[in-house]
């Protein structure tokens, strides 16, 4: 392990890679800070640049964008009271009121410090959990992979907010699109309508760019003409703005929120967008003074920022060990790995050990850069908030088109991002969650291929999926999560009809 660390250090500590991490983190913070732009979009935009870089350099850049993008949202959440990304929604609850009370600098200091601590702790969790999990995963066969895919699919559906029917449909539709192209095992061409471009199926990256970047641009077009310019407040930062006493007082709040964030990050498909709200609610519930939450106290900022940023390390765990993305940005990173011919999974730790450890180190370096840049460069980021959206968004769309085109030098991929952009916008308007779609698209082939392989191993019998201990446990957990969700929904809804009649 130590030699792998040493090799990782040698890879990262070069001028080129350190420069790329710095660039990625700063751009990520800018994307996170500007409402409407997200870390997912930042990674999507910079993928074409990684085509010509080597895997170490390319992935280091993407990691910087990821860490900066998740953390940057706190700037607008506090200064504008508008979350820059879904990861900083709960930061507005107390960060905004603190700004109004004239404690903006303190709120920013707390947010920056705890987003750094959250990120760092989750990276340590990643470093210690991932190699062990990868070792266990090496013994997994088709039965286990099929069951994990099914478990992940049911989990994302049941944890998705809103209608469960729509969540399942979204996941099934993603699965449906994954069946386009050459089928696993018997290599029959399915649903290609004679288009050779569809033989290889849809590229995950084109789907992601369309669903998350193009649809977002169309969505912003709904209100951009009537949107009033928010007043951007400026602050002068002097250190972190909080005392050591306050730091120690927030100790348990920080640890609990980091554990929540890392745990939620590990679950497939949900990440910092959910963890910040869950951690805020838990902090409020367990606080001695819950009534003060929402009035501008640091407890709320600490919970939100520690949880949202710790989801970063958590989300990388299933990506690196099983090839299952923890959230939408890691889904994009999965595509980034594939561009360089790297397949994340347990074998990655065996065949590409130095690369894995270089990712760990790049993450630590990026979080340090994030801390310094946010602390001393806050004035620059505030200026970025003033860039008009009607100029910025069309330029982003052009870069998305370049990114899609660059995947295979095909106009077909440009058409694909437009198609999935329209589909994503339709999802938004109909209240259908997008994340289950992506998870369905990514895990669909994994489930189908391993189902076919598993059945071949057990002579066509499904019993093998139930009798293999790990496989059986995951299938039981999948059933339990669905049953529990239906039961909880029923309990919530049951008093309503009585009250209406």
């Amino acid at each position: 392990m130590l030699s792998l660390f040493q090799q990782g250090l040698e890879i990262v500590f070069t001028v080129q890679i350190l420069g790329l991490i710095f660039f990625g983190t700063v751009v990520g913070i800018i994307f996170g800070a500007i409402p409407g732009l997200t870390a997912t979009m930042a990674v999507a935009l910079f993928l074409p640049i990684t085509y010509t870089l080597g895997p170490h350099a390319g992935i280091s850049l993407l990691v910087g964008l990821y860490i900066g993008g998740v953390s940057g949202g706190l700037i607008s959440a506090i200064l504008l009271k508008i979350p820059g990304t879904p990861a900083s929604v709960a930061t507005t609850f107390d960060g905004g009121p603190m700004m109004e009370k004239g404690e903006g600098a303190k709120a920013l200091g707390v947010g920056i410090a705890y987003s750094f601590i959250g990120t760092l702790l989750s990276i340590f969790a990643l470093i210690f959990i991932a190699p062990t999990l990868a070792k266990i995963a090496l013994s997994f066969g088709p039965h286990e992979y099929f069951s994990i895919a099914i478990f992940s699919l049911t989990l994302i559906v049941t944890l998705a907010t809103g209608s469960m029917v729509k969540g399942i449909f979204s996941g099934a539709l993603g699965f449906l699109f994954s069946t386009v192209g050459i089928a696993p095992v018997d290599a029959i061409t399915r649903f290609t309508f004679g288009l050779t471009a569809l033989n290889g199926g849809f590229d995950i990256l084109t789907v992601l760019i369309g669903l998350f970047a193009i649809s977002e641009i169309i969505k912003v077009a709904e209100n951009v003409k009537t949107e009033k310019n928010a007043t951007i407040n400026t602050v002068t930062m002097k250190g972190f703005g909080f005392s050591m006493k306050e730091f120690w007082e927030q100790g348990w709040n920080c640890i609990r929120s980091t554990l929540i964030g890392t745990g939620i990050g590990i679950l497939p498909g949900i990440g910092s967008g959910t963890s910040n709200i869950v951690a805020y609610m838990v902090a409020k519930k367990q606080s001695k003074h819950p009534e003060k939450f929402g009035t501008g106290i640091i407890d709320g900022v600490v919970a939100s920022e520690a949880a949202s940023c710790s989801a970063v390390g958590g989300a990388m765990i299933p990506l690196l060990t099983l090839g299952i993305p923890g959230d939408t940005v890691t889904a994009m990173l999965l595509g980034g790995f594939m561009i360089h011919g790297i397949q994340p999974g347990p074998l990655l730790f065996v065949s590409q050990g130095p690369l894995v450890y270089s990712i760990f180190i790049a993450m630590v370096v990026s979080s340090l850069i994030m801390l310094v840049c946010e602390l001393y460069g806050v004035r620059l980021f505030i200026k970025m908030l003033a860039i008009p959206k009607h100029i910025l968004l069309p330029i982003i769309l052009v870069l998305c088109v370049v990114g899609a085109f660059g995947l295979g030098n095909r106009i077909f991929d440009v058409g694909t991002i437009v198609f999935f952009g329209l589909l994503g916008y339709g999802f938004v308007k109909c209240g259908i969650p997008q994340t289950p779609f992506i998870i369905g698209l990514i895990l669909g082939p994994m489930a189908e291929t391993n189902l076919r392989r598993g059945l071949m191993l057990s002579d066509g019998s499904f019993i093998g999926f139930l009798t293999e201990p790990i496989s059986g446990t995951f299938l039981a957990l999948a059933v339990a999560s669905v049953v529990l969700h239906i039961y909880q929904n029923h309990r919530v809804k049951s008093p309503v009809p009585a009250a209406q009649h």
């Binding site: 729509k166 069309p394 106009i411 952009g421 109909c430 076919r452």
Partner: protein
């Protein structure tokens, strides 16, 4: 019927249409055995049809109070439609017209479409930004990253 209820019905119909359409396409696949390339698509199509029925049932049960509770603010669909039209046209003409020219046209038109109502359209500035952006992106990706972006009419 409220807008929300209509929307939920439309979503249910969409689920059913997708499910039935996919079921039809799956039925055209060659069969070899019970578990073959058509097995998973059949399962998915069945799930989608069931979800369509469930969604229609849920939409029918949606009571007026629930339907009106989620009414949001009005959106500017005229701008959305213009934006959609521009994006589709940009993608469609990218190859024949070429990236540099099409990007300038798209950016210029899109800037105008998205300009907030309380701001004046600055044609000169928009034109300059569109030309500089198009040239910078084209040069960077064509010459620094060896990406063969289509040149179209400039060939």
């Amino acid at each position: 019927m409220s807008d929300i209820k209509k929307r939920e019905f439309a979503v249910g119909v969409f689920f059913l249409v997708v499910g039935l359409g996919y079921l039809y396409l799956t039925s055209t696949l060659p069969r070899k055995q019970a578990i073959d390339a058509a097995f998973v698509p059949y399962v998915l199509a069945t799930i989608m049809c069931v979800l369509g029925v469930l969604q229609l049932r849920a939409a029918r049960k949606l009571v007026a109070s629930e339907a009106s509770a989620t009414q949001g603010e009005r959106s500017d669909y005229a701008t959305v439609l213009k934006t959609l039209g521009l994006i589709v046209a940009y993608a469609a003409f990218l190859e024949p017209v070429g990236f540099p020219i099409m990007t300038v046209i798209y950016l210029f038109a899109q800037f105008i479409v998205l300009t907030p109502t309380d701001k004046k359209v600055n044609y000169l500035m928009y034109g300059a930004i569109a030309i500089i952006t198009s040239a910078a992106v084209f040069m960077t990706f064509r010459y620094a990253f060896d990406m063969m972006l289509p040149v179209g009419l400039m060939n």
